[in-house]
Every structure is written in C-alpha cells, then in structure tokens.
Assembly symmetry: C2
Homo-oligomer: 147 residues x 2
C-alpha cells in the first residue's frame, strides 16, 4: 500500500478520517444521551439560533418528515422550541430550549476539547499545514448528486 499515487493517498486518508469521525460522532451523541440525528439537530439549531425544518432536512440530508419527528422528540423532552414564524406562517422556527442549550454547550465543549487535544498532538511546525490543508480539501470536495 506504500507505493500509492497522490489521489490514492488522498482517498486512503479520507477513508481513515471518515471512519474515525464516525466513531467520534456516535460517541458524542451517546455520551450526551441522544441519538445521532437528535445530536445533529441540536448542534445545527444551536449554531444557527433559529432554523426551519426544511433547512435542517437539507443540512442533514434527511426527509423533512424525519426531521419533523425528530423535532417532536426534542420538543417533548424540553430541548427545542417550536414557534410559528410571524412573517410567513408556513415556517416553523426552531430554537433551543433549556435542555437543548445545555446539551449544545456540552457537545460544543467536548468537541472543543477533542479538537484542541488533537491539534496539540500534532507537531507544532505541522499544524499550519494540517489546518490549511484540511480547509482547502473540504472546500474542494464536490457534492456530487447521483443522477
């Protein structure tokens, strides 16, 4: 496997990355006592402050009905608040409720620690390369949509 060409190397690291990040995401959710999808909804809502069901569905690549039901769960357990948008009453604006805020803070903090530690484990002189390289790469990845 050592005599691979550049694009193969790229793919290999990406595979490894995907796998590890998969573990990370699941652990993150499990530790906070929520499902993966619930976790995603909370994080996206927390970041945007206000968000609609459709927006979430788009971001999470899920059907809006799935998101709607996930939101149900989170509203019922005090994590999320549903509010009709006064400007366009078709929209339901979602924002974090108390429990959701707590979860959000918790998740963000855990992630912050995780990435800080990861960065610190990288030799000082390589950190810039890693960060910038990742930024370039993530920007360049296309969202291919299968016909």
């Amino acid at each position: 496997m050592s005599f691979t060409n550049p694009s193969q190397r790229l793919r290999e690291s990406t595979r490894l990355l995907t796998r590890k990040l998969g573990f990370l995401e699941i652990d993150e959710a499990v530790c906070c006592g929520v499902t993966l999808t619930q976790c995603h909804v909370i994080v996206e809502t927390g970041r945007k402050q206000k968000i609609s069901v459709n927006e979430l569905a788009e971001l999470l690549n899920l059907d809006k009905s799935t998101v709607s039901r996930t939101v149900d769960q989170l509203v019922n357990n005090g994590s999320l608040i549903r509010e009709a948008d006064p400007d366009d009453r078709r929209y339901v604006m979602l924002r974090l409720d108390l429990k959701g805020e707590e979860l959000f803070k918790n998740i963000e903090q855990r992630m912050d620690i995780y990435f800080t530690e990861t960065l610190e484990s990288i030799p000082e002189e390589k950190r810039k390369q890693v960060i910038e390289g990742l930024e370039i790469f993530s920007e360049m990845l296309k969202n291919i949509k299968c016909i």
Copy 2:
C-alpha cells in the same frame, strides 16, 4: 466566524468535510444500487480479499448480527461467497462473488475518478500540503470511546 482560533478552524473544516463525505458515500451506494452498509461490506471485503464477519463488524462499527444479515443479502444476490475457514471452523471467510467483484471495481473506479478530479482542482503547489496534512490529521484523530 472568520476570527476563529486554530482548533475551531480544524473543527469547522472537519464538519464541512464530514457532511460532504456523507453525501458522497450515500451517492456512491445509491448509484450502485446497494445500501450504504452493503457498499461498505463490499468495499472492505474487496480490499481485504478475505474477511470475517467479526472483522467487518469491527471495521464498520456494527453489531455482528447486523453484518451477518447484510452478508446474507449479498450472498443471496450473488455478490459475496461464504466459506468456512478450514483452519478454524468457527470462522466464516467472506470473499467477493462475481457481482461483488463488479460492484467493487465500479465503486473503486468511481472513487478514483472523484478523488483524482478533486486533487486536480486543487492548485498544483498546494497538493502536497493537502495530502500530507490530511494524512497527519487522520492519523492523529483518536478513537475516543465513551465510558
């Protein structure tokens, strides 16, 4: 969002990356007419040539029963072959059947094209930085396990 610190930048790119790679994986599977899990099983099996159910379960972070059933599906549709390991008959060795080989080649080729194109879209002088940066980062990520 522009005045973020290094670890925040790292996390942001990682988030973006995860999302895009999620789309990529799903599309990859959908285009080949298989489920995501089936796709993973095929790719892992194709790469290892021979693999056990437990090994797959470990790699894919799934219960062995789930893998066993996914393997069922793939055996039934002519993608996979189950064979008892003669050395230790507890193990079932899996390898690709004809259809599986075809799927595997197809997937690998598509991925190869995708990553080649992605790499080519990155300015020549930055490619080394991206590849090495990604390799370092993916190596450094821990598999944290929630207690």
